[in-house]
Amino acid sequence: MEVPYTRPKLAAGWIVRMAWRDSRRSRSRLFLFVSSIIIGIAALVAIYALGDNFEKDIDNQAATLVGADLVISSNHSLEEGEQGIIDSVRGLSRAHAEEQSFASMVLFPKSGGTRLVQIRALGGDFPYYGKLETVPEAAGREFRNHRQALVDKTLLLQFGAEVGDSIKVGEVLFEIAGRLNQAPGQSGISTTIAPAVFIPMAYLDATGLNQKGSRINYSYYFHLPGGRDADVLAKGLDSLLEVHRMGYDTIASRKEETGRSFSDLSKFLSLVGFVALLLGCIGVSSAIHIYIKEKLNSIAILRCLGASSKQAFLIFLVQVMGVGFIGSLIGAILGTGVQQLLPLVFKDFVPVAISTDVSWSAILQGIGLGVWISVLFALLPLIGIRNIAPLNTLRLSLDTPSPIRDRLSWLVYGLIALFIFGYAYLQLSGFLQTLAFTAGVAVSFMVLFATASLLIWLVRRFFPASWSYLWRQGLSNLFRPNNQTVILVISIGLGTAFIATLLLVQEMLISRVSLSSSGNQPNMVLFDIQTSQKQRVAELVKEQGLPVIDQVPIVTVQLEAINGITADQARADSTLQVSRRALGGELRATYRDSLIDSEKITAGTWMGEAARGEMPRVSLEEGYANRIHVSVGDTLLFNVQGVRIPTLVGSLREVDWNRVQTNFRLIFPMGVIDNAPQFHVLMTRVPDESVSARMQQAVVTQFPNVSIIDLGLILSVLDEILDKIGFVVRFMGGFSMLTGFVVLVASVMISKYQRIKESVLLRTMGASRKQILVITALEYLFLGLLAAFAGVVLALAGSWALAAFSFEVPFAPNLLAMGLLIIGVTAITVLVGLFNSRGITLRPPLEILRKDI
């Protein structure tokens, strides 16, 4: 007769109670496991909170980003019809202002220093929202009524100038009325690239800098009365403005644009934080794996007493969820603390002041993500619980299935891949980019995993049996049961790869610019030279003992039609296969009879002189031709300062843009635009900074309208920008490195539990403290060395790919720095290993056995 029985019920209360009871002696260790995710969660919570605050700050400060309700901008002076548009908006406005801005040289007479800056000539009471933040405060308002200038604080610092000194802009000497700390919409990075000098519009003509052919941006600011919607007004004008090649900005559009750029930055940083979190998760997974191995007997007893596999699994899942929650909570608190520092880190990149309010949504997101990701990565070892047989109470089961054969393992691997892909997709929003990121993460992990596995195999296969006992013991620790080789190689290797890539890329960017200035390449460019000044500027250069390496004319032209299709026609019929963006756009072209070193014809035939009676054949740079969907034989109609010139595309050129050369997207043959209004560019090479300064001073004094780009200056600006970006990347990368460090400490401490029994046995058998330490040191030496080496190789491979395919520069890594990095990382690994093992050697064996086993 069959007797009834019932399957064990899940009983949630009992599972939670058992999880709590079982964790009694392991809580500190469980916490150690999840400590790996704390840093990653902190990074993400800090970034999420920054994003939340930034969004709020943009909302609150949006008006001060633009300084007005509506800005209409153009890169040409008002033509017929355009004045009417501006006047009509002025008629609707409460107030209006005007600005002309352009790049020009300035001279500080006191120090003799010169520099290319952004001149902003201002008329009217702009800004209407926010203010020009100056010291003294009144200077921001009062400079407009006098022959005075506001000078960016970085410029004053660079040239040792003070308020009350003079600054020469073009032909006019201005008194420095105030130090400019902040102008609407300006960020730290933008002032590094082009520091601003504000002057009153009334003095612009006197400077002589706004001559025909100069590249000036015109902005018209409008302060609208309450109730008048700037966006509605701007939308009404949209098509009209497009026809006249004018743009507009409103508070809403600038807010959206600023938010978008910051969102890109924030998404990138989230990915960096996510890598730190992933690294931590590998640590969690490995630690839980060892933990479950140690719990094997307890699980078998429970199964023996009648607990189902599901119940046993859930007990440990609840534990992981619990510690995952605590770890995430600590991470979230830490992240909220870190967030207080972020405005300092990002202040140079954003045009608004960022607040540091606690973001509850960021905290909740962080905790949710932390719990989910700790569970996800712990699932791999946890699902093994299902297969722990109750027979283990009597003897070790021979029938435990391999995790590789367990279908659920593959499901978990799939879930992990899907999660990484999904998270990356949310940040990157592009399928290919996401695929590249996920593949990059997978490849890095696999390379390091393969390296560790190879090491284990090699050490086993070629085990040096003749070496001394200490070396053999240290080496064999790498492959013995419960070794930490794989997890340590992955975590230390990834951390090292991170630092090494950062170093290599930074070096590469600097060397790319430095390379272009090496040899006899020009390193100073003089531009905006009027035709009447051409001869005299060249003579001045020669008088300074400098060569005139190149002198080329530049003509501003406008592309009006491609194969007879004009901008209006393209707008009216979207099926036409032409680039609407190219039509109406301005191009800087030159004319010459021959190709230069940096150019190569890839299609068609080069024609240096226009043939009489034929349509002139122009040459296009091939990338530009591709962008505007044009090939050899197509016709282009140009408007050259009012004169329409039909042309034929005669050839396409490949251009090496890395060379400091006057490279052009469009070249006319001789005899077509030779007499058009033009300015000239002259290139020279200065041997050192003092000659450069003397040269710049002479040019600015005699030809104030001529601007100079000094490659030395570009290098120093680039250096400064890279420093700022590098700081942010290092700050975020620091989370990964710190996680790597925590994983390292946690792994070493977990392996301590593994090693403790045998170390005690060794001590019982008479091994000295020193011998135990040597064995430990050797184990971590091998681990650290290999992991750091693998990380550096990964970084070298990645940087080589960047050098070859992205930056297109020769790859010459600093091997000394890489060597030092390997030594440094190895030393830290050994030290952490020794520090954490000291407990075993300092206390009597029996005490440790009683306490820890």
């Binding site: 007797v3 399957r7 009871r21 007997n297 189902s308 003897r395």
Partner: protein, 231 residues
């Protein structure tokens, strides 16, 4: 008397790395309810494996085992867990207490698994019966070997099992403690009418049961009914 355990043609073979190892060959015997049976034999004779199969901790490769009227061969692991929880008790040589649980909690686990509400009082009562009422809040590490085995006995009887399997219950204990444990086992066996199946090397202990099954090389070599010695 009724049969509580029926073992028919049971064999066990382990497959490992392409090799097969047969540890039990065609074992046959029945056990009457409320009786006490010993399985004895040298190390490696297969007695512990047989105990594991009878208790439903593992599945036989051939033959069938019927426990309390339930055929174990067709049951999945979770069903067998249900059977163990309701009808089976265990005592192990190395006690197998959960190290993170107190004595009281260890005894409560089988009751809690059954969803019994009054598990605390029942567990305290059992601990009192084995003389450990005052040590109920101690962890296994804080108890001596004999005390741990007494907790283990209390746990084994907590679900009033129909059958109790004991693997070398006194194997890790000194003679005096062994006597106490044996007395407890047989008293509870008598008081509660629980069937007792013992695996032991200790012939003195074996002779205290009514039947001795001798094993060698994975097979039963003799099955004799004895006159139990007085405790």
């Amino acid at each position: 008397m009724s049969t509580i355990l029926s073992v028919k043609d049971v064999g066990k073979t382990y497959e490992s790395a392409g090799n097969s190892l047969t540890v039990l060959h065609r074992i046959n015997f029945d056990v009457e309810a409320a009786s006490a049976v010993s399985i004895v034999g040298p190390s490696g004779s297969g007695k512990t494996t047989l105990l594991g199969l009878c208790a439903g901790l593992d599945r036989a490769s051939t033959g069938s085992i019927v426990l309390n009227g339930i055929c174990l061969d067709t049951l999945g692991e979770d069903d067998r867990a249900g059977v163990r929880n309701q009808y089976v008790g265990f005592i192990f040589q190395n006690f197998q207490l959960l190290p993170t649980l107190t004595a009281l909690e260890n005894v409560r686990v089988p009751l809690e698994l059954r969803g019994e509400r009054n598990s605390r009082n029942r567990a305290l009562e059992l601990l009192d019966k084995v003389g450990l009422a005052d040590r109920s809040h101690h962890y296994p590490l804080q108890l001596s070997g004999g005390e741990q085995q007494r907790v283990s006995i209390a746990r084994a009887f907590s679900n009033s099992p129909r059958i109790l399997f004991a693997d070398e219950p006194t194997g890790n204990l000194d003679a005096e403690t062994s006597d106490t444990i044996e007395r407890l086992l047989f008293d509870l066996n008598k008081d509660m009418g629980t069937t007792l199946v013992l695996v032991t090397h200790d012939m003195d202990l074996a002779f205290k049961t009514q039947r001795i099954i001798r094993m060698k090389g994975g097979a039963v070599v003799s099955d004799e009914v004895t006159q139990p010695k007085e405790l």
